[in-house]
Symmetry: C2
Subunit: 226 residues, 2 copies
């Protein structure tokens, strides 16, 4: 989708520095080595310049990460045309989550640095439209979009920086070994707490969210901005 490299390791005669070029380099490093390596210094090195030069085009590291996310958001396909509005909604959200799961650390960033690029706007428009199609009242649809996107983002973010001796192992163990005397509910349902594939849980969560959004009225004063 972005410009193809002419050959594996050929330095392309130092292209002019542009914001787009910086973001493209950032995406490349992200895909190859993860967000942890997407640093000002590394990018400067990649672009054959000094780190100070990047600050002409990018305010800081956070803004750079936000720009990278917006770029990747473009790779998520359009909303499916078939199926019920519920199915379509779930499919759009699942596709978005899948994209974020390829770069969990970026999801983590997205939670803090709200994206506001064109691709993100389009996603919101799609979700809003599907909810309205389903007859969800306007205010509930508006607040619901936030809830749905937050769940998708947070779920992906949870998978950031795991891999080795995952401390989630410890959490599972703590749950399974909770003494029935002090934690009767956990002891009785530890299996259920840890059950289900990630896919099954994600699907269930989206459906639960949707069911909740549909039947929970927004307070009447909900009109002014914080």
């Amino acid at each position: 989708m972005t410009a193809a490299p002419r050959s594996r390791r050929e330095r392309p005669a130092k292209p002019a520095l542009t914001r787009e070029g910086i973001v493209a380099a950032a995406v490349a490093v992200l895909r190859a080595e993860g967000l942890r390596k997407v640093t000002m210094r590394r990018l400067a090195q990649e672009l054959d310049t000094g780190p100070a030069s990047l600050y002409v085009y990018v305010r800081n590291t956070d803004e750079l990460h936000a720009a990278v996310l917006d770029e990747l958001l473009g790779t998520v396909g359009p909303a499916p045309a078939e199926g019920s509005w519920r199915e379509r909604l779930e499919r759009v959200l699942t596709a978005y989550t899948a994209m974020l799961l390829e770069h969990p650390s970026l999801a983590r960033s997205a939670l803090t640095a709200r994206p506001s690029g064109p691709h993100y706007l389009r996603l919101i428009e799609t979700l809003l439209d599907l909810l309205r199609t389903g007859g969800v009242p306007r205010a509930q649809a508006a607040w619901g979009v936030d809830l749905l996107l937050q769940h998708a983002t947070a779920t992906a973010a949870e998978h950031a920086g795991e891999e080795p001796t995952g401390d989630w192992q410890a959490a599972a163990r703590a749950l399974r070994e909770a003494p029935a005397a002090t934690h009767p509910r956990i002891a009785a349902d530890a299996g259920l707490l840890l059950s289900g594939t990630p896919e099954a849980r994600l699907s269930w969560a989206f459906r639960a969210l949707l069911n909740g959004i549909e039947r929970t009225a927004v307070p009447t004063e909900g009109q002014e901005t914080p």
Copy 2:
């Protein structure tokens, strides 16, 4: 709750290094200057030693942050005894969220590094118990606890690292200025998308989550661990 300092800036004759001492120092630095300053080097300096010494008691920075969170979780009071199960549930979750909102960057960490300390277990037990009191089926209660805690954590995490020229301002502007031609739903409902106080939205979200959890069945095979 932890040992009181004898005087504001008196060096306490170099106390013996312990894991507890390190975590206590970490909590102090967190409260005073935020998580960004809770670094191995800074803590070593605070404890009058070299950074290498800390690695005897703490595997790495992530583990340290997790230990700090577990410590703070102890400051959240017990579940309220009065009110309906719904009200009590909402109050427990709101108290948890409020604690995390005092340290949003820690919430961000918690999303990745699942806490598994005694305080976290107690919170899960409480939530599970309240849901069962409300007659929510066991499997739904089990999966629901995750959803509720994730929302609390993610909501707090969203407030990490903002303060100055918040790029959330940009997101709000993008929403308000979306052209009606291409984004009719957003244009029509921008006000609603941005409406409501944080408290109102949090309360609505918890109630919507609860409503959804109550009436969304978990798939029947939901028994094995990933």
